[in-house]
């Protein structure tokens, strides 16, 4: 009970701090182009956005649970939850979006050297350095471990050659964390290392990728005789696969969270259907029984999925050992999102088919592009097929 009192006291402090420090203009949802990603070439949609990041970073609230020594606020899990609740309560934006915070930081805190933590973790928490991820390669998608970008030791450096794909925002990032092959003769999982590379190094070049849905944050990134200081190796030489897997778990839960957050702010399917299709004057139900059935199925499945995520987080909070739920949430969440986006387009009928131009509202065009974009959800971050393999093997114990 004392704990609870202490937490409520903390809630009061947080509430006051937010009230004082979060600019009023930062208390509304950000459009995608208003997101703050930090970095050397950081751009801000407003002065408020800049000062909101600076104040949050100074307090360590960009990475609340990280140690204060590395730019965090040193909060407990309960405290961080309270901070999050209070932030959401007043509708405050996240001060900083960052792959460094979501993915690299936790891994560096676990596997990094003291020097790496000081150099990199702090920079991440402050939003000074923007990171991107270099995992997939043209020949290594689902079979990530077959990657072939190689790093060869030469004196105090590694010399890196090869190519990465699906490097989100590589054109805007300052550094990239990469999986590289450091032993070509070892079994494929045992010759991989985890390496941090400054994108400003000579020999690094970037080319954006256009998706079905149009322009995208994804890039191809090329490495030609790039020299990387040996101290940028994270974890043991040829021991990168362990680091990589730890990071992939973060990525999977992240993708489903982002989807859910995006979906939460959206108009419901039935509301859209009321607008585009309409209810029967007498029946009071939607004028398309087949679509109505599909909408309901999607709504029910969404409910079940939400309840399952809550059940899983309650189980973790109760100290029960984690299962391999991230695979399930990645799989089901993305499949659900695909269905949902498809239904949104279907509901809009002809108005769901627009690519550009004045015949369609901005909202309609976005919806169509979002539908196309969602097609990648079940491929990126470990395809649905890979998640099914993982569940079959790790959860169900089916033989290879």
């Amino acid at each position: 009970m004392i704990d609870r009192d202490e937490l409520e006291c903390f809630r009061g402090e947080v509430r006051a701090w937010l009230e004082e420090n979060c600019p009023k203009s930062m208390r509304s949802p950000a459009r995608e182009d208003e997101d703050v990603w930090g970095g050397r070439r950081a751009t801000f949609p407003s002065g408020d956005a800049k000062s909101w990041l600076e104040r949050a970073a100074a307090k360590g609230f960009t990475a609340p649970t990280w140690p204060k020594a590395y730019g965090g606020a040193g909060l407990s899990g309960d405290e961080a939850r309270i901070l999050e609740e209070e932030r959401v309560r007043i509708g405050a934006r996240v001060p900083l979006k960052s792959l460094g915070i979501w993915m690299l930081g936790p891994v560096l805190l676990r596997f990094g050297t003291e020097a790496q933590k000081v150099q990199h973790v702090t920079g991440i928490a402050r939003g000074e350095i923007r990171w991107c991820q270099g995992y997939s390669e043209p020949g290594a998608g689902s079979d990530l471990a077959s990657l072939s970008m190689r790093a060869e030791r030469d004196g105090d450096s590694y010399v890196v050659n090869g190519q990465k794909v699906w490097t989100s925002h590589a054109d805007k990032a300052d550094w990239i964390f990469c999986l590289v092959r450091t032993d070509a003769k070892a079994p494929k999982h045992e010759g991989i290392s985890f390496l941090l590379i400054d994108m400003a190094t000579k020999g690094v070049s970037v080319k954006p990728i256009t998706l079905l849905s149009g322009a995208s944050p994804f890039c191809e990134t090329f490495f030609e005789d790039v020299r990387v200081p040996a101290e940028n190796l994270v974890g043991p030489l040829n021991g990168g696969w362990t680091v990589a897997k730890a990071l992939l778990d973060h990525e999977r839960s992240l993708i489903s969270q982002i989807r859910d957050a995006a979906a939460a702010n959206e108009e419901s399917l039935e509301s859209l259907a009321r607008r585009y299709i309409g209810l029967g004057a007498e029946s009071g139900i939607l004028n398309d029984p087949s679509l109505r059935d599909r909408i309901t199925q999607a709504n029910m499945d969404l409910l079940c999925n939400k309840l399952t995520m809550r059940r899983s987080s309650e189980a973790r909070a109760a100290g029960l050992p984690p299962g391999n739920e991230t695979s399930m949430f990645k799989l089901y969440g993305t499949e659900l999102n695909k269905r949902r986006r498809e239904l949104m387009v279907l509901i809009a009928g002809f108005q769901g088919l627009g690519w550009e131009g004045d015949s369609f509202s901005r909202e309609e065009l976005t919806r169509t592009r979002d539908w196309l974009r969602s097609r990648a959800n079940s491929i990126e971050g470990g395809s649905t097929e890979i998640q099914l393999n993982i569940i079959a093997k790790r959860v169900l114990g089916l033989p290879d």
Partner: protein
């Protein structure tokens, strides 16, 4: 509201599990079926179950129950679902007891509930009249007479109707056949003149009956609570039972899946365990996800009863539809994955397939509940 079982709940689950596997294993259902047992239920086992407090789980202590709550009763139903146990849990504990609890007078509650909690009284709930669940369409008439009432009509798919000590009949005391109002719960004791009970032998050996009422004379006290007020309680009674059946299905689903997984790991063809074929692996993994989702919605719906939540109706429809669909899918896949022996009567897996079909039809199939869910959400 928590999805994590408390120690007490874990203990109830263990008790129910060992009771079901010892006293009501699947062989029990087979024996009842193959001997063409007239009752279709083991009364001894039911009383023993009541002695453990499981029959009165949802009945207040004031009326002889153990008042454990639905989260707990759900665990009992789940374990009974695993062994396809023949019990009057759905008919008596979920449907009838709730009708009495919600609509009955204190005197009626005091008279009727304690014997239920003790496992001594089986009370059936007679609702449906047509070929499918349609709780709004009631034409069985209850007419006032000089000394009481006269009941006329026919009910089908009355669970445990053939062994019930009494029936609670949903009758129309006013209005046309599909009017929402004008409904009354009436209590009809076993052996009342004019009542004809015909047992119906269902494909899954579930106990049910068809009941005819030919000008049945009933005293004024036969009405549960007040005449014409049943509608206020009917949805709640049905929703609690729907959620309960969903819990029973959840147990059966898990049992079916676990047996199938075990088979996939041991059955060898082409020199390897068939569970190593990716075609089957992916299907098994997809089933796992569906089952996890089912578990969550069933657990939440049970808790919604305990917490008297306003979204009970929505959750009941979501849970019933989801459990039904998952049960159908999992049993169909289980039979297919078992191959030849999967379609023999020797193997238990087919019994689950049959049970799924009957559970589907009980208190509304998935399409019924999707329609209802949509209406509740206003579209």
């Amino acid at each position: 509201m928590s999805f994590v079982l408390t120690e007490e709940q874990e203990s109830i689950k263990r008790t129910a599990k060992s009771f079901a596997s010892e006293r009501l294993p699947i062989t029990n259902l087979r024996t009842l079926r193959d001997t063409k047992d007239a009752a279709g239920i083991s009364h001894d086992a039911w009383r023993a179950m009541a002695d453990l407090g499981l029959a009165g789980a949802a009945i207040p202590e004031a009326f002889g129950g153990s008042a454990l709550g639905y989260a707990e009763l759900g665990l009992v139903l789940e374990e009974c679902g695993r062994t396809l146990a023949a019990t009057p849990l759905v008919s008596t504990v979920l449907l009838a007891a709730n009708a009495i609890l919600l609509a009955g007078t204190d005197a009626q509650k005091s008279a009727l509930l304690p014997p239920i909690a003790r496992g001594e009284s089986v009370v059936a709930f007679a609702l449906d009249e047509g070929a499918r669940h349609a709780p709004q369409r009631i034409s069985t008439r209850l007419e006032a007479t000089a000394g009481g009432y006269r009941l006329t009509g026919e009910k089908v798919f009355v669970l445990d109707g053939h062994i019930a000590n009494a029936l609670i009949v949903v009758a129309r005391s006013a209005g046309v056949d599909d009017a929402p109002d004008g409904l009354t719960f009436v209590l009809v004791p076993q052996g009342t003149p004019g009542v004809t009970v015909t047992r119906t032998n269902l494909v899954d050996t579930r106990n049910a009956a068809r009941v005819r009422f030919d000008n049945v004379t009933l005293p004024a006290s036969a009405v549960l609570g007040t005449v014409g007020t049943a509608r206020a309680h009917l949805d709640t009674v049905l929703d609690r039972a729907r959620i309960g059946i969903a819990a029973e299905m959840l147990g059966a689903i898990q049992e079916t899946f676990e047996r199938t997984l075990a088979y996939l790991k041991t059955r060898k063809q082409f020199g390897v365990a068939i569970g190593s074929f990716q075609g089957l692996k992916h299907r098994a993994a997809a089933l796992f996800c569906e089952i996890e989702l089912t578990k969550s919605v069933v657990m939440d719906a049970l808790r919604a009863i305990d917490e008297n939540r306003p979204d009970l109706a929505q959750l009941a429809s979501a849970a019933k539809a989801r459990a039904t669909d998952t049960f159908l899918t999992v049993t169909a896949e289980a039979v297919q994955m078992h191959g030849g022996i999967g379609v023999t009567d020797d193997l238990d897996i087919g019994l689950f397939l049959k049970r799924a079909r009957v559970c589907e039809m009980t208190l509304g199939d998935s399409a019924y509940h999707r329609d209802r869910y949509a209406r509740l959400l206003g579209y």
